[in-house]
């Protein structure tokens, strides 16, 4: 459904902008358009793709900026982890910034496991001899019918280029390290941060680990200007936040371990604070929770 648009993303080292059509969509709004986002057809909200096109369709086009998607993990965290990786991979391909928090894996390990995107195989400008050698014998003759397109480079795959909304991924391969490194990623690896948590007073019903995560996230948002604090010297971007397995024992939360947890409302309070932060910044979050381990009924946060 996305109309072909002029690519506004910064070209990376291994991709060349490819204009197969000269059509340029006339932009009516005066707002700067952020790559990888589009207004929703239903209510005009700015949405991003989750990385899984069929999931985008089910949730109404995409994930609205400023909102949170909560995923209840499956038993061994296989599909939920895959969804998180798709979400992050989509951020890399669109040029968004990433924030990854996990108590289990380091941010770099997660980035290395991202699925490889299926992009247009843009033909680099080969010399004429190369082209002649690599062509099939059939097509070496000049095109008789579509002769106007003869000079255009041959495109191997017909799938989306990087300026489109929503991409496809090949799960059997991991993302090229070059593409990964082009993405800006902020990581929160709990074992690295736990020694820094020294606050003597616990902040109400929220535990120290969640509190340090919330503070770290706020610091990143403020420093990088996602809440509008930095004047518009650089172009606007979206921060994609991926929080892995919140509520599990690795985060120091005994919600999944006992029937009467000591901080029963720690996770919901954290999510409330996260919602407040998302609503006031250009960010979108995906959180996975191992709800199958929770034994006590906790009031849901809407």
């Amino acid at each position: 459904m996305a109309a072909p648009r002029r690519s506004v993303g910064k070209p990376t080292s291994d991709r060349l902008p490819c204009n197969t059509t000269s059509f340029q969509k006339k932009s009516r709004s005066k707002l700067v358009s952020i790559p990888g986002t589009r207004p929703s057809v239903q209510n005009g909200q700015l949405i991003v793709s989750t990385g899984v096109t069929s999931l985008d369709y089910v949730i109404g086009g995409g994930l609205a900026v400023g909102t949170l998607l909560l995923i209840e993990e499956d038993r061994y965290d296989s599909y939920s982890r895959m969804l998180l990786k798709y979400f992050l991979a989509e951020g890399v391909v669109c040029g968004h910034e990433l924030y990854v928090a996990s108590a289990l894996d380091h941010c770099n390990d997660i980035l290395q496991e991202l699925p490889a995107p299926i992009l247009d195989d843009i033909a680099s400008p080969k010399t004429v001899e190369d082209q002649a050698k690599s062509c099939d014998p059939e097509s070496q003759e000049a095109m008789k019918i579509a002769w106007r397109y003869q000079h255009l480079p041959k495109v191997q795959t017909a799938l989306a280029s990087s300026s489109r909304f929503g991409h496809y991924y090949d799960v059997s391969k991991t993302m090229d390290p070059e593409i990964c490194q082009a993405a800006r990623c902020h990581g929160f690896y709990l074992p690295e941060h736990s020694t820094a948590v020294t606050s003597p007073t616990t902040t109400g019903p929220m535990s120290e680990t969640y509190s340090s995560l919330l503070n770290n996230l706020q610091e990143v948002i403020h420093r990088e200007g996602f809440d509008g604090s930095v004047p518009q010297t650089k172009s606007r971007n979206i921060l994609r936040i991926g929080l892995h397995s919140l509520g599990s024992a690795l985060w120091g939360d005994d919600l999944c371990c006992r029937e009467n947890p000591s901080h029963g409302r720690a996770l919901t309070t954290f999510l409330y604070g996260l919602r407040a932060m998302l609503r006031s910044s250009l960010s979108v979050a995906v959180v996975t929770v191992p709800s199958h381990l929770i034994q006590v009924r906790v009031c849901a946060v809407h």
Partner: protein, 270 residues
């Protein structure tokens, strides 16, 4: 004006004439009844009342954008002093990030210490619900809460939430002859043996306190494009011998309002 006309005629009210001292409880299950909160907000602002809105679950710009579509400007109302808006999310974030060191409003004190209850929130309501000193004279005060059940997930007990609504009702409805509208959201109820804590208990307690309930539910058969759910309107009998009256309607939410119709008479069906 036509936006919630059917609801106004069901409830027998209009911005020009409505009963004073009403406590309206809106509850939902398997769906989102916040469209009714948006309606009441624009309703009472149009009626010229002094409105105190506790927006605990969405940002001010969210309510503002929707009210714009209903024809009311929240920014203007706030500037004129007709609307006092508590941005729960923003205030809470300050408390959650800085803990004891934060100097935010006392209204969200329940985040610092959930066991202390909602006293700070009540004080905020009491201070802001009376008509302003200088300037214009507004109509009877109105308190709107969206939504009360979120405090349960932040550690506040059901008893404290019921105390809060009781105090508010005593001040706003009885003493000042104003109105009160509260939204309570319930979760899925499987056959649980003990529902000691939980929004069900809060809902039951609030139903006893209120004078009018609007219980919104999704259709039990699932999603339907033309009928978004059903509303059960219940006028609770007061102590002067009035009987409790109940009516059931189905509704569909539009861009600029909602239409209500008797069961089975949706325009898609007829």
């Amino acid at each position: 004006m036509r936006m919630f006309a059917e609801l106004n005629s069901i409830l027998n009210t209009s911005p020009d004439s409505f009963k004073p001292g009403e406590f309206i409880l809106v509850s939902d299950k398997h769906t989102d009844a916040s469209f009714l909160i948006h309606h009441f907000l624009s309703f009472y602002l149009r009626a010229g009342c002094k409105v105190c809105f506790l927006g605990l679950v969405q940002s001010f710009s969210h309510y503002s954008a929707i009210s714009q579509r209903l024809g009311v400007s929240l920014t203007q109302a706030r500037e004129k002093g007709q609307l006092v808006f508590l941005e729960g999310l923003k205030e809470s974030l300050g408390v959650l990030l800085q803990g004891e060191a934060s100097k935010g409003t006392r209204a969200v004190d329940f985040l610092r210490d959930p066991s202390s209850g909602l006293r700070g929130l009540y004080d905020f309501v009491r201070d802001n619900v009376r008509g302003g000193g200088g300037g214009e004279e507004w109509g009877p005060p109105v308190l709107l809460v969206d939504d009360l059940s979120v405090v349960l997930s932040l550690g506040v007990s059901v008893g404290a939430a019921l105390d809060f609504s009781h105090y508010c009702r005593a001040t706003v409805c009885s003493k000042l002859q104003g109105s009160m509208v509260m939204l309570v959201r319930c979760e899925e109820e499987e056959e649980e043996e003990e529902s000691d804590e939980g929004s069900e208990r809060l809902l039951r307690g609030l139903i006893h306190q209120c004078s009018l309930t609007l219980q919104v539910q999704g259709l039990p058969t699932g999603y339907c494009r033309d009928i978004h759910g059903q509303v059960e309107v219940c006028w609770r009998g007061q102590c002067d011998g009035q009987q409790t009256q109940k009516k059931l309607f189905q509704y569909k939410v539009h861009d600029k309002g909602a239409s209500f119709f008797a069961r089975g008479t949706s325009s898609a069906v007829l």
